[in-house]
Structure formats: C-alpha cells, structure tokens
Subunit: 450 residues, 4 copies
C-alpha cells in the first residue's frame, strides 16, 4: 500500500497519478484518487487494477486539481475488494474529507468495538474508516485537535493522509514504522510514501515526516504538530530489505546502499566456497552486488526476469507443472553451467519460490547452489501491514537453518544477522526487526494471546 | 517479430502460447496462432495486443493441437494492422496451410510485381503472403519442391514456418541473417526464433536450422533439404547486441557472453577516467558488466527500470515535459551523486533517448558522464527487418563521433569496433554488420538506387 | 431503481440476477447483489453498467446463495457513481447486513443532520445509508423493533430490502407510492419491485406488500409487521403510465390494461378528426391501442424502434443534426404518407422529444399530426424519486396546452384528465397524482419553501 | 449481411457508420468500413461485434472520407470469424480496391476450383474474394469490362459493392434476388441494401439497382451498365417476410404493407375461432395487424419483448430450464388469461421457438392457441444466403401441417399460401419462393446432386 498527496497545483490529479505510478510496487490490486478543485468541487475515483488501468487522460483531466490524495492497494485476502480501495470519501455538512492510509492498526478490533458502541456502522474493513469515525467522535471546534486526539487512540505502524478542500494532514505513526516523506514541486507541496515518486516528477525532497508528527500542507505552507511525546525511529526493516524501491531514501538512508551494505556483511558472516555470485532479480540484485564486492567473487547475471507478465492465468503444460517460476525467471545456461553459485535473495518467507529457483539453476547445469539471504531468519508474523505469512507457514518458524536448507534443496544456506542489518543503515535509523526477533515496538493488544 | 512451431503434441496451442510468451520481446503489436488437430480441423486466431491479451485459457483449450505455428508481430508503420498479424492461413482444395515469417525480403517489390502480373491479388503487406503465392505458382506434385523453388526466388534475411495438417516446414535465409532453432519436448518437435523459448517450457535444444536449409518436422522426425548451395553464417549483429534475450544461444554463441565480451573489449578500446560503471537496463547490463570487468571499475546499479509500464498515454506534467524517460528509468542518487560515470548502452540509433539518460544522471548529481556503446557506429539503414531509422535520422550517418558526443551532452563518447564485435562471438559466427559498415550480404535490388 | 430479494434458494445469486434482468428498465446505470450463504459467508458485488455486464456466470456461481438482495440503479446526476450503487453492505460484530432501496426520502436532509449530530459520518448519498444508521441508532434488542422505529422516522415514497444472513425484511412506504410484491419459487420466498420478475423465472405471485408494512422472509415463512397505522394506496401514477413494464400488475391493476383503458378514455375526452392512430414505441403502444379501440380509427405501426442502440456517442452528420431521434425511431413512410395521424404517447416532460417525433412524421409525409398524451398535464416536480425535471423545464408548468401545442409543432394537442387516470385503475388503487395536480401525499419538509 | 456505400462526402466514414447502424438487423456478428480520402489514402477497419462496438467517434474521424463502403456480417458457422468480415481490401500497383458483398454464389465451388487452377490462393471463405480474383483474371484495360465479365461468371443471389479511390461499382444479381437501392444525400451518392438506411440519415431514395445491372457512382454521377440480358425480379420472399426492416421499400413494395396484406390474406385462408390476435414481437406484429383487420378480431399485445439482452450466457435456473424464451419474451397474463388466441408469427423454421411461445402463452392462462404463419410452409433449403436450416431440420420438410401442429403444441396451425404471398406485393415484384416450393430461379450446380 502507498499514499501520495499534493497541495496547490492546477495539475493535482495528474501529479497524483504519476506519484502512484512510481509507488505501484507497493500495491497492485487497486488505486484511487480524491481531488478538490479550488472552488471545493470534489472528484473521487477508484478501481481494482493497476494505476494505469484505473485512470486515463480524459478522467484525469476532468478531475483537475488543486489539492488531492491518492493510494494504491495491496492485494490481501482479508481486506480486498473495491470497497476497501482508498481514499475513502466522507460527507459532512461542514465539508467533505477523504482519507488514505497504509500500514496496520494493532488495536483496530478494540477501536471498532468502541465505535460500534458509539453507534457507528462500518461499510469497509479499512483503518481509514476507523480514523474518519474517530475524528468525527472528537467533535471539537478544531479539526486538527480532533485529528490529534484520534491518532492518539491508534496503535500500530501507519501513514495517513487526510484531505479537505483546503488542506492535507499527513500523519506518521509514533514508532516511525512506516515511511512518509515531504516534497516540493514548484509552489506545490507533496507528501509520499517513498521519495522515488518525487524523483519521477522532478520534485525536490524536503524532509521525512517525523514519527508521531502530523503535518499540515496548505496555503500557509508546512506546519507541524506532534500528537505524541513518544517518538522512535523503528523503521520497518522489510522496507529497506524488500518493500521500497532501491532509489528511495528512507529516514536518511538509501535503500540501495542499505541492501548493498547488507550483502557485504552477509559475505563476511556467511562466506561460500563458490565460483560466481548470482542475484535473484529484481529485489536480490543490490545485495548480490554487495556480496560480490565483499567476497571478491565475480557477480554474474545468471538469472533474468521475463519483462512480460502472463496476466491471464494459463494452465501449465505437463513439462512445466513442477516449476512455474520459469514464467517469471530464466537461468542463463552459458553462465551457470558447471559453476558453484552463491544465490543471493532478499528474503525467504515460505521457501517455495526459493526451492524452485534452486531447481531452475540446477537444471541449467549449476554444480552447487549456496543460498545467501540478505535478511535475518524470519520467525515471527508481522502485525503492521506487511503480508508475510502466519507463523506456521514461515519456513524457519519451527525449523533450524540446516533443516530449511534441505527443504529448499540448497548446498548451504546462510542469513545475515540482525546486528548487521542495523549496522547497514549506517546509524541513520533503528529498525523494527519484530519478524526476525519478536521484539514488537508496540503493545500487541488482542494479538498477544492469539 | 518471432515465430514458433510444434509438431506432435496434444497441447500444441498451449505450448505455442508459452513459446510466444518467451519471444514477446521480439514483437509486442500483435500475435497469432494457427493449429491443426490430428483430424485436420484447423483453428486460427490473431489479435493486436500482447500474447497474454490475445489468448486466454478457454481459447487455447478450444484450439487443441497436434501441429501448429505462431508468431508475434513488431509494430511497424508500413506493415501494421490486424491484417498483417501472422500466421496467414491459406485455403486450398488439397488442404489449408499457414505461414508465419520474420525478417524482410529485399526483392519483395519485384516479386510482388511478378506475382501481380501472374494474376495475384494481395490482401496484406506481408512477405508470408508473397511466399504463399510463390509456392502456389510452383505448381508441382511435391509441396517440398514448390517450397524450395519459392525460397530460391526470395532474397533477404528471414525465417519462415509453413504449416500443414501433417507437417511444419522451417526455412532460414541462406545468409543466416535471422536465427532459427530446433528443439524437442518429449516426443514433440519444436522450432523457434530463439532458444530461450525452449528453456521456458523445459524443452531440449537440438540444433540451429542452417542457412539455406528447409527442415521438415513430421511423423518421420526431422528431415533436411537445402534450397541453396550458397550458405553463410552472417547472423545479424543486432540480434546479439540488442534484439535477442541474453539467455538465448544463436549459432552456438551465447547472447549474454557476446555482450559481456563486447563490453570487455569496449573497455580496452575506449577506456574512461571514471569512478563507476552504470549500465542502461535491461539491454546494456551485460555489456556494462563486461566493461566493469575489463576496466577494473566498480559496476553499480545507478539506473533502475520501472517495472510498471504506463500503458495509457498520459500527457506529461510541466516539470516532466523535457524528460519523458523518467517514466521508464530512475537514477539512484545515492550511487551517482558526485561520481564520474561510464554509462554503457547497447546502441545509439537517433540519440534522443541517450541524451535524456545523460540529463537524468546529471540531474541526479553525476559529475561526468562518459557514454560507451557496445556496438559500432551505426551509419547505414537495415533492409532485413530491423527497425532502425532512415539514414537521415541516424545520429552518426553524417556526424563525427565528436559531434555526436556534443549532441547527446556526454563528456566523452566511444563505440566498440566492428572487429571487436566479430571477435566477441568467439569464432562461432561471422556477422552481418551492414548497418555499421554498409557491407550488405545480399544484393539490394530496388533499394540500391534509393 | 429496482429491488429484488430471495430467501431460501441454493441458486440465490442466479435468481437475483434474473430478477434484476427483468427489472432492468427501472435503472440502467448500475447493479449490485449481496448474498449470504447458509453458513453466513457474505458475497457482495456492484458495478456501473447493465446487469448483464456487471455479472457473469463465473461470478454468480461463486456467490452461491441462500439469501440475498439486489438492486438496479437509475442514472441521476445528484446521486450517481459507483459508491451509490446498492445494496450497501454494513459490517457489525453481531452480523453484517445489506440494504437496497428505491424511491426517495422527503426528509432526508433533516435525518442526515440529526445523524451527523449523533456522530455519523456518511460515505454515500443514498437513503439506504440513512436507513442503516437509523436502525443502528435504535439500539434495541430486537432488530425488527429497531427497523420499525427507523422506518417511522422516514417520510417519502420508498421500498427497502434489508438482508441479514437469516432473513430479508421488506418495507413499503405508508402511502404505498412505490410498488413492492411478494412471490414464491418452489420453497424460496421472493420480493420484487414488479411482478414481471416473477413471470420471467416462473415464480408465483403471492401478494403486494401493504403500505406501511414490513414483511420478514425467513425460515418461518412470511411474517407481517406494521410500522404505521396510517396506510394509503396512493401508488405513483407514473408507475402505471410510464415506469413499470406492461406485463406487471401493481396493487391488483394490470399496467397494460391501465394504459389501454387510459387510451380509450383519452379518445373520448380528446377525439381527433384523423385517419390513423400511431403509438410511440414502446411505452405509448398500449395507450394507442386503447385510443384506436375507443375512437374506431385504425391502429397502425407508423413508427418503429431501432433495436440496436448506438452505445458510443457518435457526432451526428450535418443532415441529422436537427433530428437525433432518428437514431431511435423510424417513420414508416408507406403508412404515414398523406395521412392525418393521431400520435399517442405516454407523457410529455420537456417536449423536446415530442417535437422531434412530430417533425419526423411530417418529413415522412404526414398531413396532420394530432398529439394525444395518455397522462394528465404535468405541472409539478416529483419528490419521490421519479426523475422528471424541475418546474422551469416542464413544458406545461407555465404554459397553456395551446402554447405547448405550438411548441411541439402539432396540429392539436390533448391530455387525458386526472379523473380518467384514476378511473383507469378500475378502482384498484388511488393514485399519487402530485406531478399533475400538486397534491403531494406527504409533507414536503424542506422542499416546501424551495 | 448488408452493404452500404457513399461517394462524394467529407463525412463518408461517419455516414457509412450510420448506414450500417440502420442495417444492423441484417448481421450482428461483425462490421467493417473501407474509406478512401480524396488524395487516395485508404482506411480500413473491421471487427467482430455490433457496429457501435467496432467503431467509435475517434476512429471514424480518423477515417475521414470521400468515398467508401461498409458491410455487416451475419453469424454463420461455415463462414464466420474475423477473416470473413467485409469489406476485403485488395492491394495492387494500379490502386487498392475493396469489395463488400451479401448473398451467396451458387457456383462458388466451381469458381474456386477454376481460380485455384489459375494459381489463386484463398485467404477467406467469402464470395468477395472470389469476385476480386475474377476481376483480376479478366486483366483488360477497363476495370468496368473486367467487372462485367467477372459478374457474368457468378450465379446466385447477391449484391456487391466494389470501391476504388475514385468510384463505387454496385452490382445486383440478374434474378434480383437480393435488394440494392440508390440514394442521394446532398451532393453525395449512396447505395444500400435497404432503403431504411436512407431514412435514418435524411437521404433521398433514387431508385433500385436493377437485376443484372452494375451502377457506377463517381464524379460523373450515376452511370448504368448491364452485365446480363437476362433480368428478372425474383426478390427473395424472406426479405419481405422476415429479413428486411418494415420501414424499407424493396422494388417498389413496402415491407410493412406486404406483411400486413399477407396477414389479411392469412385471415381469409386460415380463419380461427378465437377471441384475440397476438403477434410475436417484433417480426410478427405487422402480419398480426393484418390478420386482426382481416378477421375482425381484436389485436392485443399479449407478448412483450425484453429490451435488454442478456449478452453473457448465464446458465438457466431449474425453473427456467424448459423455457429459455422467457429471457426474450414475456406473456401479459391480464391479456391472455382465459382467452382463445390466434398467435401470428412470420415464419417457422425448426419449430423449437414456436413450441416455447405456445407453452409460454398456455402457462399464462391461454385457453387455446391457434398458430398462424404469415409465410408458406417451408420445405426446401435456401442456397442464396438465407440461413435457414438443412432439409432435415425444417419442421415441415417431411411432415404434414397436422403433424407439425402437434409438435409445436398448438390447437391449430395454418400457413398462408404461396399465391397469396405473391399477391401481397401488389404486383410490384415476382418472388423467389424456392424455400417454399423448390423452384430455384438459378441453376443449382453442385447442390443439385447433394
């Protein structure tokens, strides 16, 4: 999931479209944009597909601008469907407002019960709907006060944009789990899940939204409010390792440099007696480069990615039934044949894909395959919106690394350590490593006993 | 453009679909499949889109199999439109047959005139229609004799598949300009423009079709005929440099290894005083790896590609108007900032894209940009089906490399030599280098005086 | 707009689809279905298009059944868009429920204000969302009590279906303005805006829902509750005249017979010295038959309707610019040439279409055109959901019939009387004639002073 | 199938689109347009869907005009698919030309063999491709001479339009089996399968193309050539009875008046002791009106047609499995209940639909159903392009009328006589009644012995 907003542009819808295009990797199920024109006219459109399918030029032109927000939606069994695609638009006498958010609220069940008891009726499964109703409940004079009070009731990892006809409010959780960045495009102010969206449109990065901060973007510029005294920089480690685009910078640390540095440390922690280093495209490539640099082994493009996705599901033919990963990846036989390979990937969740890639390399003639993972051993579920699996499904929740190595069919298997991961940020940030070490930065509420 | 065929499988349509999916990079405008069931029933479907959009599971299941061919179509102003998507299906009393081809016939105008004078009426602009009619003209007893005679009238670079209910004939031009490979999947026989399609479906590569050879695939297996005594291996250099997928092997030479080796030679021929090497994804990456290896400079992922294509044309916003390449490529500032960069790409045609990439790197803070091209200076048009531009549009048709360097805004510009390109095949093949040195392997007929 | 529901069928979604198909004439903008399986699993799908485009077999099969409701949406500037397509689905701890409604709530603005003050936040412009929240506010033990209290707060013309996993509640406004009928299909119970949906699926009509009644359909069968002591049968006259399908029966009176009888009375009240009677297809045909019978003039098919709708808007060519009605209707010259014609239509709203039809007939050679309208002179706006125009746009809100006749270019113009319309029901029903005589059956609240 | 052409309009594509829209009832499978601009630029587009889906405003605007032809395609197992949608466009050095045709060539097999022997290779199953090649074979100086000679070789019922950048040639078979009419729109000249297309666009009818005539439409106006001395007016009776739109006039006889007159004669020839007359919409309505007039029985709208077609095939629910006709037709119970009904339809082919309609009426309470058919007993197959069935499938090819009556479940069954059908044209035309009496106006060639 991703959010993007702009205040103060006649091309607001167009810019949001481009921003969401740059953030598409954070959610491919759906996309939406809500825009207010300078006279308060509201435009709202959502759909279940890629950004480029949901919107077209005619639609964007008709949505115009002045201020607006957009979001992409991650496919997710529990919270799917068109009704959950954001932004949500709320109608009120004193003015419509829209909310788009990403992340996950830990105490959502409790808040939902509280609001139901207050008479609320829910039409979606989104946290955005919770936030809207919490703001409504805090029925004070000042919208900003209501927002601060509402946010104080929410525990979790999140980034929320609230958009009225005059203003965008941008909030980040107090642990800093989810990223959120501010930018400028000419006179217009921007907010985005990742900085790569600024680069696409030629905008300038200003600063990250701080943990526990609510920023207002309006004609007075950028104004800051803190809704919590508690403030940490526990950025989700998976953002650096897997989710974010390598050209983004989160809390001062380049995602690509983090990955490359992790690869280097991985080479030091888990060396391998091998001939070449091969990265799994696209997300393992940065770490593979680091591993090669660290180990002195040559980096080779032993795997290439099919640029064309088979969108329609086609039943596999007999000879492919065992290895569906071929539709996405191809091994370059002239590189891998007869070689002892270090295969570097960003993470292993359930291990099924990794097993298929190992097989693919062996069937192309690889002599040995040493799998090296540029993240620590994943053992705990994530409650902050990253769609890893339940504990039972995780390859290593109840297995030793040696057992896991056998399951994926590798010669050896190694993971980078938590310590090395933290060091790879260069001191820019602490990290939320909960899925690796079980140290959740927030209280877990109802999840505690599950 | 690409062709793919299979003889002897109950899943023929399905396999062709997968083959075309692997060959999608050779033509995205349209795709088609013609299949014959064992009882002779013919199925024929074509459309203007990606393979995965033109076909779906239901359609493929209904097409069944036993023998069939397919093709992808390259977008091309002169020969576009649904009518030109192949295979073409021809009806005859003694049995329908289909033709799919790629490449270009040099003496097409002359053959067209000849056939018109013989009473032929054309419904397409394809060479496949020419071939079909030439075969029909040679009205002998034996289909294979007619085919041999027809092919002898055609001059150019091509690969043709002719499919009847009993057999596929696969022909390659006598100069070997276009690639064509034979494979095996269980009991079924395959033919494909590139070997990467065999890898996708888990098939085995048998051998290349030889220049000037017509191969029959049927229940008697693979049988060979030569339609010409003249036989050369002048494979199109652009196949190795740009067109083919890096995991393909053409006439015994791995495309990836060719590119990497070219990069190494480029480093030797055109060194640069720089800090890092950056390849243009995806097609410049192999050569960049070679350049890094050759020069000893570190290879860095300074440019990344947006995986999501904006399919609908969207009008660019003000700030992006000058640099539309941002929709496809992003510079990683943390890598390129303050660096002297060697930018390696596979080729420069008109120079407009290269100019934009140089600008993109500079705007991300690159100190110097030294462009190195892993193909020789392109100065002549291609008449064999590669859609380079007319002479006037080529960056270097009337300019020195120094002038070209200024136009693309680089600090220095260097190209690999023709000699190095030929050496990079490792002796596997001569190369058609006509677009670089004007030495066309065939007579040029009407083009000569144009 | 229309609603349709079924309790107790394994084919619930399928049956609802067919019901909505039969009710498609009551709303072409959008359609939706919400179904609960026997185990409580909920399926919910809505879209902006015809029923046959929004749903397909695969989707319907996946929705299964046991109990469910559906709706079609009328295109309406103020309340359009996907968000307003019904049913709406509400989430609650004690069980999800869905609401679909048609008609219009007169005191919606007041209720909205009341609910907002109670902390409600609205996401749509629908009356269904109002009803859902009113039910939620009446937070008693019994759902049925909450529903009765909620309905008592709503003034207007409406039909609502409320669906839980166990039951459908079907409510009709206490004036009986909107129709709502109960049926039976095998063991399953049905409710529908019109009886024609029962005929399509081979179901049996049981009875109309009574004004002011809430009916429960569940495993105990049909149980009745009254939410109001005030009960009238003021069925919307436009239902009989224009909206409903001629094969439907509303409150005991056949729509076709009403129209034919009205035509007969029109012939008596407004005779014409003419040669033939021509009805405007399809909605004027029943009345034309009655006029012919009443007047003794022959009924002729002087106008035929183009069965194919030009869905894409195509710019008219020069010669058609003045008469776009030709895309829908054609005059049969061999019938109308040289004839004095009585042209019978069901209603005139703004008069623009009528003017075009008169011109069409004259250009096909009609000597005289005497327009006869099978409804009274329309002078007042409708507040109960019929999308007539504002007073200013109505042809006759500020004009005499003579002036109107000139505007539409007819030789004479005549309307049936209110009295005759009421008589045409054969005593089955009183009628809401508010748009003809300004006697609104309900209080008008905020509209009063507008 | 239908054809439409225009010479001399800047809006040529637009006008053809509208013409095809009016002729849509003659073919719903596909549609195509070929246009030449004044400078000879050719535009060609075809698709498999309704005219309004195949074309949109943007496309039509880009096709421009000056001269062009279009066609709609009838769904037909043997000759379906995109490749057979017309016009076909043929490329030649001396100028491209397009052909669109309707009808069927009796000696197509012989001509195909002849052309194959001359070296022709066919890419479609159309008669248009035959005609194009025959013209090409007659390789004289004059195009018109070549056309005349080609047409002389073709036996059957047809209408062909041949379009070059300068001219349209319009040909009608010498028996006059297929209709073809000339019109004028301002300065532009038109040709159309039916006159209803002229009425839609506000054009003027000039005259019918004569049997055996080829008309040239160009800057010299309308010029006539005869390709055959043999000339008859044996218009296909089914055109009057079923195919053509009631507002069209063919060879001077109004289709509607023909049908009504036939209905009158049917009443005289086959009276029924009944209460009301009900026509099957839409094609039986004119005849029903005539039957009512002839018999003195009241005409009632006992059946109404669902305006909305369920485009996606949806599996019928249990209760509807036996009577799928309900999706298209509904019986009006208030009219038919307890009545003895004369059910008038235009024709019976296999009898399956008629059986379902009889059942539908009985289930709505009809006491008796007397089926009256406004065409003679169909006993022979049509070889001229009307898609009736093979002899074995025809209800009455091997049955007496009494036996047929039992099969369709009617109380009585009556057909109009051939003699009455001919009289119903009012002497305007003889008729081809081959499917009723086996008297084929042409030689049958290979069909003779089948």
């Amino acid at each position: 999931m991703s959010v993007f907003g702009i205040y103060g542009s006649q091309e607001a819808a167009q810019v949001i479209y481009l921003g969401l295009h740059a953030l598409q990797h954070r959610g491919q199920e759906g996309a939406g944009i809500t825009c207010f024109e300078a006279d308060g006219t509201c435009h709202h459109h959502r759909g279940l597909s890629l950004v480029s399918n949901v919107f077209n030029q005619e639609l964007l032109s008709s949505m115009g601008g002045y201020v607006g927000i957009g979001a992409t939606q991650y496919a997710n069994k529990a919270k799917g469907g068109l009704g959950n695609v954001q932004p949500l638009l709320f109608h009120q006498r004193k003015g419509d407002f829209a909310i788009a958010g990403e992340g996950s609220i830990i105490n959502a069940d409790g808040l939902r019960l509280y609001l139901e008891n207050q008479g609320c009726l829910f039409q979606t499964s989104t946290d955005a709907e919770l936030l809207g109703n919490l703001i409504k409940k805090h029925n004070g004079e000042d919208r900003i006060t209501n927002i601060l009070e509402a946010l104080n009731m929410m525990e979790g990892g999140f980034a929320f944009l609230i958009c009225t006809k005059n203003r965008i409010y941008a909030a980040r959780d107090k642990h800093g789990i989810k990223p959120l960045a501010l930018g400028r495009l000419g006179d217009a102010l921007l907010v985005s899940s990742e900085t790569c969206a600024f680069d696409l449109i030629g905008a300038e990065f200003i600063r990250d939204v701080e943990p526990g901060e609510v920023v207002s973007l309006d004609q007075k510029g950028i104004r800051s409010n803190k809704y919590s005294e508690y403030q940490r920089h526990k950025v989700c480690a998976m953002e650096y390792m897997y989710i974010a685009r390598p050209d983004s910078v989160i809390d001062g640390c380049s995602v690509h440099l983090f990955r490359k540095e992790t690869g280097k440390k991985l080479a030091a922690e888990c060396p391998a007696d091998a001939d070449i280093v091969v990265g799994v495209p696209d997300s393992g490539l940065s770490a593979a480069a680091g591993y090669a640099e660290g180990s002195g082994l040559p980096l080779e493009m032993g795997l290439i990615k099919n640029r064309y996705i088979a969108r329609t599901f086609i039943q596999p033919i007999q000879s492919m039934r065992e290895n569906s990963v071929r539709m996405k990846l191809a091994a370059v036989r002239s590189i891998v044949e007869g070689k002892r390979i270090v295969l570097v990937d960003d993470s292993i969740v359930r291990g099924t894909t990794c097993l298929k890639i190992v097989k693919l390399l062996r069937s192309a003639g690889a002599k040995e395959v040493h799998v090296r993972i540029a993240s620590p051993v994943m053992t705990h579920p994530c409650y902050y919106g990253v769609d890893t699996s339940t504990s039972e499904e995780l390859l290593c929740s109840n297995r030793t690394v040696e057992e896991a190595c056998k399951i994926i069919g590798a010669d050896t298997l190694g993971y980078v350590s938590c310590k090395a991961s933290v060091e790879a940020t260069g001191g820019c940030s602490e990290l939320c490593l909960a899925c690796f070490n079980g140290e959740y930065p927030t209280s877990l509420y109802e999840y505690e006993t599950k």
